[in-house]
């Protein structure tokens, strides 16, 4: 998304009222549960190539609901199209995540999307990659650098006033994906750092992911115990329904079940 493209859209991008109406109607039908839309395939294909981003976006949402693998290439093309708007690319990543068996090109597009500047595209791509992690053996190493930088100290304080914490959604997605695919001590160490992230939503997911990774690599018991100890001091007074307390309880149950099983 270049500045020039943004300025162009701000002044007035291409508008196709007919295409918008047609795709809105189609989207409404799909949302109402209609699935037999083979006769509309041409309309979807045309709309996916439309110059009006709203029509493209509607078509992408239709494909996401239909979970139709025949459009995987078109979705991959939209996801990697730097001239396309953020919502379209994000929805393309979400649509790819919904496919049962996307082609390798789609996975490559998701890897490109996971490096994107705009946080919503990055987050959706990483979530999609998490779903297909078994087909991506190098995913752990690929994702780990994304959580190298966590605001701490002064930068933590400043993050309250700047937009730096903007990427917390990405950190959540990365922690979750690393929890699904991580097996190394390095990942466990990075996740332990994320357990002290300024955003509690990140802390909760990171703790659950840390437990899963530590159980897989089997050498980080002391690290996990220390993180639990730190959480004990800050988390137990919360109401049980508070999401962070729920993350904590789930992680503790998983950890205790696994470690007591080992001891037995």
């Amino acid at each position: 998304m270049s500045l020039v493209a943004d300025l162009g859209r701000l002044i007035g991008g291409a508008v196709d009222p007919q295409g918008r109406r047609a795709t809105e109607d189609l989207l409404r039908r799909v949302r109402d549960g209609e699935r037999d839309l083979d006769d509309k395939r041409d309309l979807i294909e045309t709309s996916l190539r439309s110059r009006d981003w709203v029509a493209v976006n509607n078509a992408v949402k239709v494909v996401a609901l239909l979970k139709d693998g025949r459009f995987a290439d078109a979705l991959a093309r939209l996801l990697t199209d730097l001239g396309q708007v953020g919502f379209v690319r994000r929805n393309a990543a979400d649509a790819l995540a919904g496919l049962d068996d996307p082609p390798q090109e789609a996975l490559d597009a998701l890897l490109v999307g996971s490096q994107e500047d705009y946080w919503e595209i990055r987050t959706s791509s990483i979530r999609a990659l998490e779903r297909f992690h078994e087909r991506l053996p190098d995913l752990e190493g690929f994702l780990r650098p994304a959580i190298e930088e966590v605001p701490r100290g002064w930068s933590n304080l400043l993050s309250q006033f700047t937009w730096r914490e903007r990427n917390f959604e990405v950190r959540i997605a990365v922690c979750s994906a690393l929890g699904a695919c991580g097996t190394t001590e390095g990942t466990a160490l990075r996740l332990a750092t994320c357990c002290y992230d300024p955003i509690w939503k990140v802390r909760g997911i990171a703790l659950e992911a840390l437990v899963r990774v530590a159980l897989r690599c089997g050498t980080q018991e002391a690290l996990v115990e220390e993180v639990f100890h730190r959480f004990d001091q800050s988390c137990l007074h919360f109401q049980p329904r508070f999401p962070l307390a729920q993350n904590y309880n789930r992680a503790l149950q998983t950890w205790e079940a696994a470690t007591s099983g080992e001891a037995g």
């Binding site: 701000l10 708007v85 953020g86 919503e120 914490e165 509690w200 939503k201």
Partner: protein, 367 residues
């Protein structure tokens, strides 16, 4: 009502000499605030019960934020409490001969009706949008134009002739005489305030406390500008009769505090558009009457921030650029989305609103 009695019956050395108290603005303002508070407290529980029986309940879980789940089923349209709590003391304690009072009362009634209609459509007809944006804006701007016309171009204008078209700028000593510009700014102030308070009304107690601060600031300005000694001393325009607006402001503050009693976290009732549009409309009219339309941007800085974040997100980023700038808009939903607890967001925004109010007050001397 009591002011009329005072007007009719008061005479020195008569048995009604004690009624001179009703002539003092400060006395009436204090008692108007207390009346508003007590009326709201008395009417509150019955109103909440009635709204619940009429099924005027919040049903929309708008932002998919987990902590908002508890809001489903809580009665809305509680703004009727604010309107009643505001109008009763105005009837009792204000001078009915003041055009300022009539403008404020008509703002409460008109915007209350507009918001109430919107709420009614949303709640009873399963219509999530309520009144269309066009109709709502048409109503707001129509009323604002009427008030602006009365204040600037009509023979009903309560201002001294030399002050009718003057525009007063915060931190700047010399007013600008430009009636058309003032007309436009009055329209924007009234319609904008009404919408801005509506946008800020998203969390328990969030809109009502900044309203209290803003009204308090405007009340102080009304008192100073209505006073023949203080106004020239502070280089503000002296507007005879504006002192009556202090009683109006006090009534609004009292009603708002009374509403806060029920609206503080976790809320028993929401004000709905009925309350938020009415509050914003009244504030806009008070600011316009006091010739402090521009000061409203500072005094209601929080409302301005809420409105700007919402407009930016919607009209620039989402509709045009196809992406988000804030996680959610307006501002309070963005903060909540980051994981701040609702009471934390609300109290911190109150603090910011108080700072804006103090900054606005500082313009009394800084000019």
């Amino acid at each position: 009502m009591l002011y009329v009695l005072y007007d009719l019956l008061y005479a020195e050395e008569s048995p009604f000499a004690f009624m001179r108290l009703f002539g003092y603005i400060t006395f009436r303002a204090i008692f108007a605030a207390m009346t508003a508070f007590v009326v709201t407290l008395i009417v509150g529980p019955a109103t909440i019960r009635l709204l619940r029986e009429l099924k005027m309940k919040n049903t929309i879980w708008e932002h998919r934020i987990a902590s908002e789940e508890h809001k489903i089923g809580i009665p809305t349209m509680g703004g009727i409490l604010i309107c009643v709590g505001f109008l009763v003391p105005v009837v009792f304690w204000c001078d009915p001969g003041s055009i300022y009072v009539w403008l404020a009362v008509s703002a409460a009634l008109f915007f209350g009706f507009l918001g109430g209609w919107d709420d009614y459509l949303k709640l009873t007809q399963g219509n999530k949008v309520g009144l269309t944006e066009k109709k709502k804006l048409l109503g707001q701007f129509g009323f604002a134009i009427l008030v602006a016309a009365i204040l600037t171009y009509s023979p009903l204008s309560p201002y001294p002739t030399e002050l009718v078209g003057s525009l007063h700028i915060p931190f700047y000593k010399h007013p600008i005489d430009f009636p058309l510009l003032r007309f436009g700014i009055i329209v924007l102030a009234i319609a904008g305030a009404s919408n801005a308070v509506n946008l800020a009304d998203g969390l328990d107690g969030l809109a009502i406390v900044p309203t209290i601060f803003t009204t308090g600031v405007l009340g102080i300005f009304c008192y100073v500008e209505g006073n023949a000694v203080f106004a020239p001393y502070l280089q503000l325009p002296h507007l005879p009769g504006l002192g009556e607006m202090v009683v109006v402001c006090a009534s609004l503050v009292g009603a708002s505090v009374g509403f806060l009693w029920f609206n503080c976290y976790p809320a028993q009732v929401f004000m709905g558009d009925l309350g938020s549009l009415a509050l914003g409309g009244i504030i806009g009219v008070i600011a316009a009457c006091a010739k402090q339309e521009l000061l409203l941007v500072i005094a209601g800085g929080l409302f301005v921030a809420e409105a700007i974040t919402s407009l930016m997100q919607r009209y620039i980023f989402v509709n045009r650029l196809g992406r988000r700038f804030f996680f959610r808009a307006p501002l309070h939903h963005d903060l909540q989305y980051r994981g701040w607890a609702e009471p934390k967001v609300v109290v911190r925004l109150w603090i910011i609103a108080a700072i804006f109010a103090l900054l606005a007050l500082s313009t009394l001397k800084l000019r």
